[in-house]
Amino acid sequence: MAKVRGAIVVDTERCKGCELCVGACPTDVIGMEEEVNSKGYHYAYMKNPEACTGCVNCAIICPDGVISVYRVKTS
């Protein structure tokens, strides 16, 4: 069965840690890193990368446009 796999890349320096992407993700992929960026924000990362479907919800809710989304179909 074809399966869709996705992945996100977060521009960690521009992320402000607002956590809107965490709530927008339907498959609970995104968490906030314990480390902080140079401005002191906890930035988003994929805590559960296997579950990502590349649905783009996190990227379109992100006010700062820091998330890029990649998607492939695997068979």
Binding site: G6, P63, G65, T74
Partner: protein, 258 residues
């Protein structure tokens, strides 16, 4: 079959979404979670999709989005407080082939700029107005705005807006929809991914309709101000849905007759 690795997924040919190239790499100065960034990005995406970058002139307001010209790679002009529709009128009349938009908050558009807004829309100026309504003066420290809800707290009404003393909130989008000069009037929000998608469609219509030369296109975007509302971004979006949207219901208020 071997499991696919993240490195195999993250390849340029698999890219499905990234920030529009119309948005510059300047870090937005907005508070974390602010809807302004989302609204900027939607407008930038529409301009990119319609290939209007070279033909766009934007007018930035006074308010939180005063530095908008740093964030979008299009020609922009800064207006005096509230006067963006007047400036946009002049630009559009001088250069009718350009796409001209204003981007204004509720303090700019619905308070000091009420006259300019109503007259520009009533004259049917062929411009597109994006109106960000977060019910508060964000930049100056969370004071009560014309759009502040009844009983909503702000720094100048710490016990909540008392409508008997402070008057009623102004639904300026509803007023604009009644004017003969307005062509397309809609109210959207950017607090959930679904609403962001709808808002983008509305902005796209408002941009495309300007080519028809029929009147003012007006898009209100109900947005959050988590700093002014003293909430986390996620809580602010929840509060917006429960309190702002019943008072400012989403949807088209005026659509062109096809």
């Amino acid at each position: 079959m071997a499991e696919i690795t993240l490195d195999q997924i993250i390849q340029p040919e698999n890219l499905v979404y990234t920030k529009s190239r119309i948005m510059t790499d300047t870090v937005l100065h907005y508070c974390p979670g602010c809807g302004h960034g989302t609204a900027h990005r939607l407008l930038a995406e529409v301009i990119e999709e319609l290939d209007l970058q070279a033909d766009t002139i934007g007018v930035a307001p006074v308010g939180c989005s005063v530095l908008m010209y740093n964030y979008m790679d299009v020609d922009m002009q800064e207006a005096a407080h509230g006067r963006a529709p007047a400036l946009a009128t002049a630009i559009k009349r001088l250069m009718p082939e350009k796409f001209v938009f204003t981007y204004q908050g509720d303090g700019d558009l619905a308070a000091i700029g009420t006259a300019e807004t109503i007259h520009a829309c009533n004259r049917g100026e062929n411009i597109t107005i994006l109106f960000i309504n977060n019910g508060i003066y964000g930049m100056t420290g969370g004071q009560m705005a014309p759009t502040t809800l009844p009983d909503m707290k702000a720094s100048t009404c710490p016990y909540g807006r008392d409508v008997r003393m402070m008057g009623n909130p102004l639904k300026i989008t509803d007023i604009v929809a009644t004017l003969p000069g307005s062509y397309y009037v809609t109210r959207q929000s950017v607090h959930t991914p679904g609403n962001v998608r709808k808002a983008k469609k509305a902005i796209r219509k408002a941009v495309e309709y300007q080519k028809r030369n029929q009147g003012t296109c007006f898009v209100e975007i109900v947005s959050n101000c988590n700093s002014g509302w003293k909430m986390t971004p996620a809580d602010a979006n929840q509060w917006l849905e429960e309190n702002m949207l019943p008072f400012y219901p989403l949807g088209d208020l005026k659509v062109p007759e096809e």
